[in-house]
């Protein structure tokens, strides 16, 4: 291999000293660039900064009816039918749909969840346990599958109380919603907390298949509203909605039902309801689903969120986590 010429020590030192002023300038530039990057990276984030006060006027008590029938599911549009055996908690393959069901038109809001906590605390069904609210869950059957963890009957976390991302305040007895967050989806809630909310009112979390049909209808669309996604369709990462500030706290939740075709603070939304009229079935927050799969302690989420790119908003995309997981980007809605 050809070598570069070898300079004598003196010659190299002479050349080095000649380059010094330029080198110093370059070093200063690189150091300044690095310092600016580091400073920008370490800028404080005010997590509890209020959201823009935008009232969507969503009727959060509304339910959507989804009729029995076949539908396409998954990325490859398999024809499937829902026949879920609630005693066995399994899907029966390719059976005929034998029930209609309903799902909430809107995600459960902070206000709704605060009301649930207050009622359940008063009744003694749940409790404040140190830095969290916890409640009873009857446990899962353990199959001893590799990596499966036991979910025993007992008290499990619903929400953390020491995390600044929680949009609820408490005086130790009563919970209220922080100003401007009333109509935003409830987040920082574990699967146990989501499941308990639905169960408290006599409902349940939707199964994955129910969720997917409610989002998709009976055709092969990848998004609840159709084939393509615009920034005006949903709240996703860097979608430039009025609630995000990418130089500070990043993407944040939008009020439930925000993408309804109206203009808010000069931001034109597109009506992005699913074929059955459900809102926020893509983006805003991941939604817990109710399936408990054999040999697996993980729970599954659907819909993508404010923190994900548009590809995760495609309605067959799944996310999963342990049932104790909570995040500013995870919420839920109920089915019945």
């Amino acid at each position: 291999m050809k070598q570069t010429s070898v300079l004598s020590g003196a010659e190299r030192s002479r050349r080095t000293s000649q380059r010094r002023p330029l080198q110093s300038l370059r070093d200063c530039f690189v150091a300044a660039l690095l310092a600016m990057t580091l400073l920008a990276s370490c800028a404080p984030v005010e997590v509890s900064a209020p959201a823009p006060t935008i009232r969507v006027n969503a009727d959060t008590s509304k339910w959507a009816s989804i009729p029995a029938g076949e539908f396409h599911h998954g990325q490859f549009n398999e024809m499937a039918t829902i026949n879920y055996d609630y005693e066995m908690m399994v899907y029966l393959e390719m059976a005929t749909i034998n029930y209609d069901y309903e799902m909430m038109v809107y995600l459960v809001t902070n206000q709704q969840y605060a009301a649930f906590i207050n009622a359940a605390l008063a009744e003694g069904g749940i409790k404040i346990d140190g830095d969290k609210i916890a409640g009873f869950y009857s446990g899962d059957e353990f199959h001893g599958v590799k990596h499966e963890e036991r979910i025993e009957a007992g008290d499990w976390i619903y929400i953390p109380l020491n995390d600044p991302s929680l949009r609820l305040n408490s005086d130790g007895r009563t919970f209220t919603v922080q100003s401007s967050w009333e109509w935003h989806p409830m987040t920082m809630v574990s699967w146990f907390g989501a499941q308990a909310y639905c169960e408290y009112y006599g409902w349940r979390l939707p199964t994955e298949m129910e969720w997917e049909k409610a989002a998709r209808g009976t055709d092969e669309r990848p998004f609840p509203w159709g084939d393509e996604i615009l920034r005006e369709n949903a709240n996703f990462y860097a979608s430039r909605d009025p609630f995000e500030d990418m130089s500070s706290f990043g993407s944040r939740t939008s009020p439930v039902g925000f993408y309804n075709g109206n203009v808010y603070d000069g931001f034109q939304t597109v009506n992005s309801a699913s074929p059955y009229g459900l809102y926020d079935m893509a983006g805003n927050v991941w939604q817990w689903t109710g399936d408990v799969y054999e040999g697996m302690h993980y729970r599954f989420m659907r819909g993508g969120s404010k923190d994900t790119y548009d590809m995760d908003l495609r309605l067959w995309v799944r996310n999963n986590a342990t049932p104790t997981y909570f995040s500013p980007g995870v919420g839920f809605r109920c089915a019945r």
Partner: protein, 432 residues
Amino acid sequence: MQFVKDRFNYLFGSTKGLILVAIAMVGIVTAIWGMLSGPMAEMGVREAVIKTLGMDIVQAEREGRIVILYHSIAMAIIAIETYMITSLLKMKAFFKTAINVIITAGYILTLTFGLVFAYFGHNWIFHGVYLFGLSLIFFAGLLLIVALWPWNPETYITDKDYARTKKGVDMERVAFFATAVTTVISALFGAVPGSYYGHGFETTIVLNLGVWGVVTPLEPVAHMIIYVGATPSMFAALLLLIWNWSKLIREGTAHLQKSNFIQKLGALVRDPLKFGPTWQMLFMNFTTSGIGIFMAIKLDEIFRVWPAREERIELTGHWHALSAIIATIILLYYGDMIGLKGKVRRLYGWAILILSDIALAAVTIFEMKRLFIAEAVQQPLVNGLMLGIDFGLGLLLVLLATVMVWRLIDLFKPKGRWAEEVTHELAQEVMK
């Protein structure tokens, strides 16, 4: 006509020409398709590229498109590595020519027809040609295995300075042979389920089960097998690094009677193209190997507790960093191979090292951020890291483009650099 013929012979008939073509192809694909995701998508560049080039993007086909894109880039890299092997190791001229011709046709067909199929409407003939290209590369791999057979007495070595068995079997050749065999087997593992899931050929179920039948009994000890294989590999890399750095220091301080630490350090980093490849191997420990081992040890505490999406981000960063660092090592070797000198050599070498390492360090922090920062407060950090990644990779691509334009201009010169490289073989250079 002679003008075109001479250039064609250089580009497709010489080792350095073939490597240049493959690097140019990868560079073009990376520059264009890199604009379709991440921050480029956020800034709206993706939409502009899609519209300008008339791409046909169907939401449901994203994963399929990416599979084809990554296969296309990977096949060009495989081709570059193969050219280096056929140029460096002794083999019959027939094999060398056949392997180079077949793999060149294979990766060009794979890359061209694969990307056109995936991104510009689905012409299934193009998909067929894409698969044909992959098959050619597989066939070239089989030929390479035959050509590299280490127990051929004609390839035995007698020089005791080189690793060999008592009989004279060249251990370096054995290593290349083993790499070729395992790569071809790995390709089979990918091809069998790929053909099943891609086309639903029922008959491949049998083959598929066969593959799993081999793998499944080993599954409980799979991690142990990986550790047993990886540990000596990493140890060998460490030995290479020690040998290389000692050599650079020894040669760089030869003119001094006694050298101090600063002089030794100066000698070590004097030539970025000699120092760079092993530095990148060391840096790989911070961006890939070290992270991998850490995650493997903490699997139950971290990986299995993180939500799937965080896991995906970590893995995506991990494998992109690994691929990118290998690409930079190839670029450093390439700069050395084409004999860059003086300031250009230093600028090229240091730019690759500094820019890629800034980007890769930022990727590493990004993928591991959940260990030390909460989601709610991560945005400023993410912004800073994205700046580092875009700055590093963007300027690296500009540098690569500059080199490619320079080589393109060179091709128009009657006695350009290309004319000197037509007959050069890498083996000759190693002997120097």
